[in-house]
Subunit: 416 residues, 2 copies
């Protein structure tokens, strides 16, 4: 265990050294940093005596040579790419956890199913505007149109980058699945928490209950009427700022009450601006543009809260003489984690005398793709400070080892 | 009366013709358009047989030659400058009204006091960032530092423009008053309404009760904490948008209630923006900048509502973990109109069988400067569509004549 922690630190440091960009960590999807990370994992896997093999889409698979069972394996996976100027732990920690679990299973035949470790590519949407390209392609679920998505800096497409990496792009574009749902017993993923809850609560590891889906508007306009701030009385105003303030405040209050009722929900208006060309201190604001996003593990919560939002827009529009116009709502469904595996992970913690708390995942993960394909999936979160997607991600290796222990215990439990 | 309306239309058209800029009307303070308008008024005054005279600060005074009384006169005034690409009626209508009143007083000795018409310069702050420079200088109340204010396009100062127009700038900078408060019996000003109330209510003329003062912050920052929109639960958020939304909504509700109690108040947050460099749909907004302005005819309403605002900021900061930082509050005191003259104007309407409603002025006017100097002042508003400071100002000349009638009646009443 002590040795494993030393190994974990060595691998984390080595991969960080291969992907530093001067500010943070950059491992571009289907690019150099990701490939260097993959080769480092391959070297360590070889040194540990694992069998390492890339599939036709250039994802990396590891397994124990002595485990020759042909039953559908439990896959422990995560991704090796990062956002630009990101942190070292988002993705890599999960692949490393798989490698450490595999190491612990060496010479043992008591894991309930054969175990494979999977290092995926292209999870981050930062590079081509689409997330989970590696896992979607693997399961034959990447829309062929995604291959034409352009790189964030405009040079080249996802398909071209895949081809350079050695991916069988023709197979991807045919929607060929390298793995069919029935061929995998379960997909497990360890990931750093991207929120602050575990730090605030003092939890080293948690079991993820589900991955929140979302409904999102990038751009809603509230159009009222500009006017002299001194000369127009309240009853003749159509103030877009006060309309949006009332809208967001009332939704915030609904949210507060729903949380008290135990509903899983977050709500964010990340962008909210009056019109820079025409706004002024002494002009009644005639226009506000804002974004609106809700996330929940429960699709009916999403649908009902979104309905409430639309109703509030209508009521406020009627009361205040403003109108709301909406861009297309973008919807991403929630992914439930497998209750059986949640129970196994909880039992694994309990067996060590460490009760494991449950936490929803607000961010998306490859696990959602596997769950969406009908593969029983589960996730372990590891405590992490300062959020993710930035150079200040801070995971303690001791916490990672705690997560490894949790996974291991779940795998060694009876009957998958 | 019919002839007078024809004359009014002729003068309005003529002055408009002298100040068209291709889009609207431009009569720059201490500039060409203002000077052309002043000369046009001088020509018409001469044609009507009035005595016309410019003071040392290049304001124009008109009087009837036959009225040789030396008692302090009632001054009917307004300004001849406009904002860039503005409308024809803001200011000019009031000077014209004075000229028409004087015309109606010709050959009569029954006005309660001698009447002077005053065409002021430099009322609009659009040119040098300071309003009422003509009336402030006249009363010895223009701070000498104002002479160094730069033109909106950066070329030259207010002092230089005044000098080019023939103003005795040395006297202005000494704070020399050309008129002392005791030398004027009253200051009356007719002006187009800059709000929509009179159109909405169907009122041709109204009597102004007072000119609203204001308290204004150009830039208040609400600083919270950015974070992942999916991964941070409500209890760990410091959402700057929801904090400002709650603040503005609660102040809006206070405002609504105070209006029901008969308080005079308007409230505006004309600018409200998340930080363009860092805001995003899926990031909890960590910062909002907004302006906040309140106006009232009553200074204690301003003080108390501002106190309520500060309290709300504190409460919300404590509850939501955000902090508010404020730029310096800019305060402009309200100006009460003279109750005696309000009563005279109301009596004047009543005598014609037209009850005259009262209306506060949300915008500032030269009348506030005269009132501030202790001169009994009053204003008449004339119905006008589409606000002011834009080419779409729309005053009906018949409504102007109604205002003239109102002024005339008040002047002919007994004992000033």
């Amino acid at each position: 265990m002590r040795d494993q922690e030393q190994l974990a630190i060595r691998i984390l440091d080595e991969v960080a050294g291969l992907s530093r960009d001067g500010i943070g960590i950059t491992r571009e999807a289907y690019g150099d940093g990701e490939e260097r990370a993959m080769r480092a994992i391959e070297r360590h896997a070889a040194a540990l005596g694992f069998l390492a093999e890339r599939d036709r889409f250039q994802n990396l698979w590891l397994r124990l040579p002595e485990d020759t069972r042909t039953a559908p394996p439990v896959v422990i996976g995560s991704h090796l790419d990062s956002v630009p100027q990101g942190g070292n732990f988002d993705g890599l920690a999960g692949v490393l956890a798989g490698l450490l679990v595999l190491d612990r299973l060496r010479g043992r035949a008591d894991a309930a199913a054969p175990v494979r470790v999977l290092a995926l590519r292209g999870e981050e949407s930062a590079w081509y505007g689409k997330a989970y390209t590696g896992s979607l392609a693997l399961l034959g679920r990447l829309p062929p149109s995604a291959l034409a998505l352009r790189h964030r800096r405009g040079h080249g497409t996802l398909g071209e980058a895949m081809a350079r990496t050695g991916v069988d792009v023709a197979a991807v574009s045919r929607g060929e699945a390298l793995v069919r749902p029935g061929e995998i017993a379960a997909y497990l993923e360890l990931h750093i928490e991207q929120g602050p809850v575990m730090i605030a609560r003092g939890w080293a590891s948690t079991v993820v209950t589900g991955i929140r889906g979302n409904i999102r508007h990038h751009r809603i306009r509230c159009v009222g009427e500009a006017g002299h701030s001194g000369a127009v009385p309240r009853w003749l105003r159509k103030d877009a700022v006060l309309a949006v303030a009332e809208l967001l405040s009332s939704m915030d209050e609904h949210w507060r009450v729903l949380l008290q009722m135990g509903v899983d929900l977050v709500m964010t208006a990340g962008i909210c601006t009056t019109a820079a060309e025409s706004h002024a201190v002494s002009v009644i604001p005639g226009e506000v543009e804002f974004s609106f996003e809700i996330r929940s593990q429960d699709s009916s919560t999403l649908t009902r809260f979104y309905g409430l939002f639309q109703e509030a827009c209508q009521t406020i529009a009627a009361a205040r003489g403003v109108r709301f116009t909406f861009d297309e709502a973008i919807t991403s469904p929630p992914a439930a984690m497998d209750e059986g595996w949640i129970a196994r992970l909880e039992a694994s913690g309990a067996a060590r005398g460490v009760p494991v708390e449950r936490l929803p995942s607000g961010a998306g993960h490859d696990a959602a793709v596997f769950a969406g394909a009908g593969i029983p999936s589960a996730m372990v979160f590891v405590r992490n400070a300062n959020g993710s997607h930035n150079p200040h991600e801070a995971m303690d290796t001791a916490d990672l080892m705690d997560g490894v222990e949790l996974l291991l215990g779940a795998l060694l439990a009876e009957a998958v």
